[in-house]
Amino acid sequence: MYSTAFLHIKPGDWLTLLLGSACVAALALALWSGDFADRAIIRSGGKLFREVELSRDQKIEVPGPLGISVIAIEKRKARITSDPSPRQYCVRQGWLQQSGEIALCLPNQVSVELAGSQKRYDSLNY
């Protein structure tokens, strides 16, 4: 029965299947190419403070001119949990997950950037 099943596929059908598979592969490549991040680069005052792997959950306290910013790493995501900066933009940004995402706390000058296996270009680096 399994061998006769293929008799029902005509030459054009093979073409359809090939086309469909190519379509699926192209869709997957185009939509899933987002590089998963594997480490977080933490900077303070523009200088590298620490580079940590995302695989281990931890809390990191980073000193800045205004006080201490706390960065949490959990389930391969990173976020800034608390920061002395007045507007709290970086805290409200929430969890960072994709490679290239960055949260920057001003005026405390603390930032966390996610990086994957390869460096991707964005408006911050070119």
């Binding site: 029902h8 359809t16 469909g20 598979s21 869709l27």
Partner: protein
């Protein structure tokens, strides 16, 4: 008090459409018992009926059967005019439109498998369109598109093969099948 009788004049063709739609409906009910890993990923067994009807009786009858199945199915499951109903409807309408084009392909080279795969892709496109434009207008759903496309390719192929095989059986059993009284 006299009993009033409302009588519709129905043709043999109407009965035939109703029978086919009932078979499709049965497959829909059967399918709803199969657990799905992701809402929306379903084999679409009822489309086997649509494919067979398309090949034997033409597009008009296939459209009747398919749309009746969607309508009756929604009444049966109690989701008439709910989002689920519109998802089914958009999928069915778009795949019927694509089938109208696909049946123009030379039959020497293209069979039910092609029809089925094109219809499956159209089905999922129609559904994703409704999901994106109406239910979840969020770019995040594009991450699911490859999953749905893979499901469409796999189930489209399988349904096409089943339809082709049923038509083979019907060829050999022709006198019995056609001799069935309405």
């Amino acid at each position: 008090m006299t009993a009033s009788i409302i009588k519709f004049d129905t043709t043999a063709e109407d009965h035939h459409i109703a029978r086919m739609a009932a078979v499709a409906l049965g497959l829909t009910v059967l399918e709803s018992a199969i657990p799905s890993p992701l809402p929306g990923v379903k084999p679409g067994l009822a489309n086997i009926v649509t494919l067979i009807v398309l090949a034997r009786y033409g597009w008009r009858i296939a459209a009747w059967v398919s749309l009746l199945r969607v309508l009756a199915g929604s009444l049966l499951f109690g989701n008439f005019l709910s989002p689920g109903f519109f998802l089914s409807l958009s999928g069915a309408v778009l795949s019927l439109l694509v089938l109208a084009l696909a049946q123009l392909l030379p039959t020497r080279w293209f069979g039910p498998v092609s029809h089925s795969v094109y219809a499956a892709f159209a089905h999922i496109s129609g559904q994703m369109l409704v999901v994106y434009l109406w239910l979840i207008p969020h770019a995040g759903i594009v991450y699911l598109v490859p999953v749905f496309a893979t499901a469409a390719l796999v189930f489209g192929t399988v349904n096409g093969l089943i339809a082709a095989r049923f038509m083979d059986n019907a060829e050999t059993l022709k006198p019995k099948v056609i001799g069935n009284p309405a």
